[in-house]
Point group: C2
Chain length 237, copies 2
DNA sequence: CCACTAAATGAATGGTATTCATTTACGAGA
DNA sequence: TCTCGTAAATGAATACCATTCATTTAGTGG
């Protein structure tokens, strides 16, 4: 049985560009071997779309292949494992993090904007956090580009060079942990039947609830982020 | 075929105690129905042992059952899912976190000791972090007990009650993120062929490496933790 | 002594990522 | 124009996985 007609859509988003097609003939569009249905950009885009619609539980190699009108095994001509797909998605998301304030605004404001943006992007993609947190930067060019911009911002803000990486890591650790909080259920701190056995904690939870914040995770994030900004900012020479 | 003889070992560690046996007869040991091979404490202990030996990839319901000399389906008489097993393990680990300094040492020292201990315990169990981070405390009594002790420590250190939970959440977020760092490969920041394209970042990485710290993750953790302690400490009335 | 019930079995189910022998079709070189 | 090499597809097979369920076992309370 012949292969089905090429899948429509999935226009490249630009980032994981395939090596240039070697065709000398000008009639062929560059960037994708003419007979090929799949490439990394298409896989990335399809994976993101699938995650958006079905969540990370719905992201299976079978479902991904189906959304591309292709057999599951075909994916393995372009990625070596499902982990590879997650890595592609992660690197795509890294490009969405807002680093524009570095070099344009004071250090404190730039860090603040970056950190909120970083948290917001990955709070929608918490299953990627274990991936990013231990990901060698070589495998993720867009992520590396983000680090470069942030590092330059720290250097220009008169950070001692040997403290820059540790400071970024500390901020990032806080951001990753905080991304989980955003997705936690509202009643996560309800002690239920144990309430009277835990008076200090229950009192503190009730006292926070009485404040009526619409997004409690934002309060904790702001509190911690401001503490980190002023604490780390003191390292500047 | 009759059931194999009861598995040896797996003495209860105390925490996930089975409801008291209803036997009026004093001859029976309390806590475990006499004919039962399994209970939650035994499952927890076996799971921990399995994780220690084979890692989280080796923690399967089949392997867990085998280590208890039992059929996989037998586990489902005591836990409702594999997630339930993870929850039992998580709650057991929470009891290992050192909260002893609260009420015995100044707030700063107590927080410092608690945070290092918390990070160290869960850096060996990072697959549990997504579980804890969104876990309703009702389902984890030991975890709840930890929160109670910590909350009391904050209250006694003159924290405004409505800021206690947010402060703990901020610290916890940082701790969870930092637990991942401990397990990251040493060359995670090696930019490889992209090194000359990322001069600020590469310079910062080299400058840190030149310091020759044996555990770079500890430097970042200390930096962030001290910033949080002094920033959050300023909230005290 | 009987009946009830908690707790075990083992087979079956539906899902997963991944591998591999085979086929297809494009494009380059003779 | 023909042929050959190769990149990229297929689909069947593999080895797991968690979970369900009808059935059996064996103790306990009445």
């Amino acid at each position: 049985m012949p292969a089905p007609p090429a899948a429509p859509g999935h226009t490249s988003l630009g980032d994981p560009a395939e090596p240039e097609a070697k065709t000398e003939n000008g009639r062929r569009r560059a960037g994708r071997p003419v007979g090929a249905v799949l490439d990394k950009a298409g896989i990335t885009a399809a994976a993101l779309q699938l995650i958006e619609k079905k969540g990370y539980d719905g992201l299976t190699m079978a479902a991904l292949a189906r959304s591309l009108n292709v057999a599951p095994s075909a994916l393995y001509n372009h990625v070596s494992s499902k982990g590879d797909v997650l890595l592609l998605v992660e690197d795509h998301l890294a490009a969405l993090v807002d680093v524009s304030a570095f070099g344009a605004e004071p250090w404190e404001d730039a860090v603040r904007k970056w950190a909120w943006s970083y948290r917001d992007v990955f709070s929608q993609h918490t299953p990627l956090i274990p991936v990013i947190a231990v990901l060698p930067v070589t495998d993720a060019p867009q992520t590396l580009a983000m680090y470069e911009t942030v590092s330059a911002g720290f250097r220009d803000a008169d950070f001692p060079e040997e403290r820059i990486v540790s400071s970024i890591v500390a901020l990032e650790s806080f951001i990753f942990g905080s991304a989980y909080d955003v997705t936690a259920p509202a009643d996560i701190f309800d002690a239920g039947s144990m309430a009277e056995a835990t008076p200090s904690f229950t009192g503190a939870v009730r006292s926070l609830a009485a404040q009526g914040h619409e997004r409690p995770a934002d309060v904790a994030f702001s509190l911690g982020l401001e503490a980190l900004i002023s604490g780390l900012g003191a390292l500047r020479q």
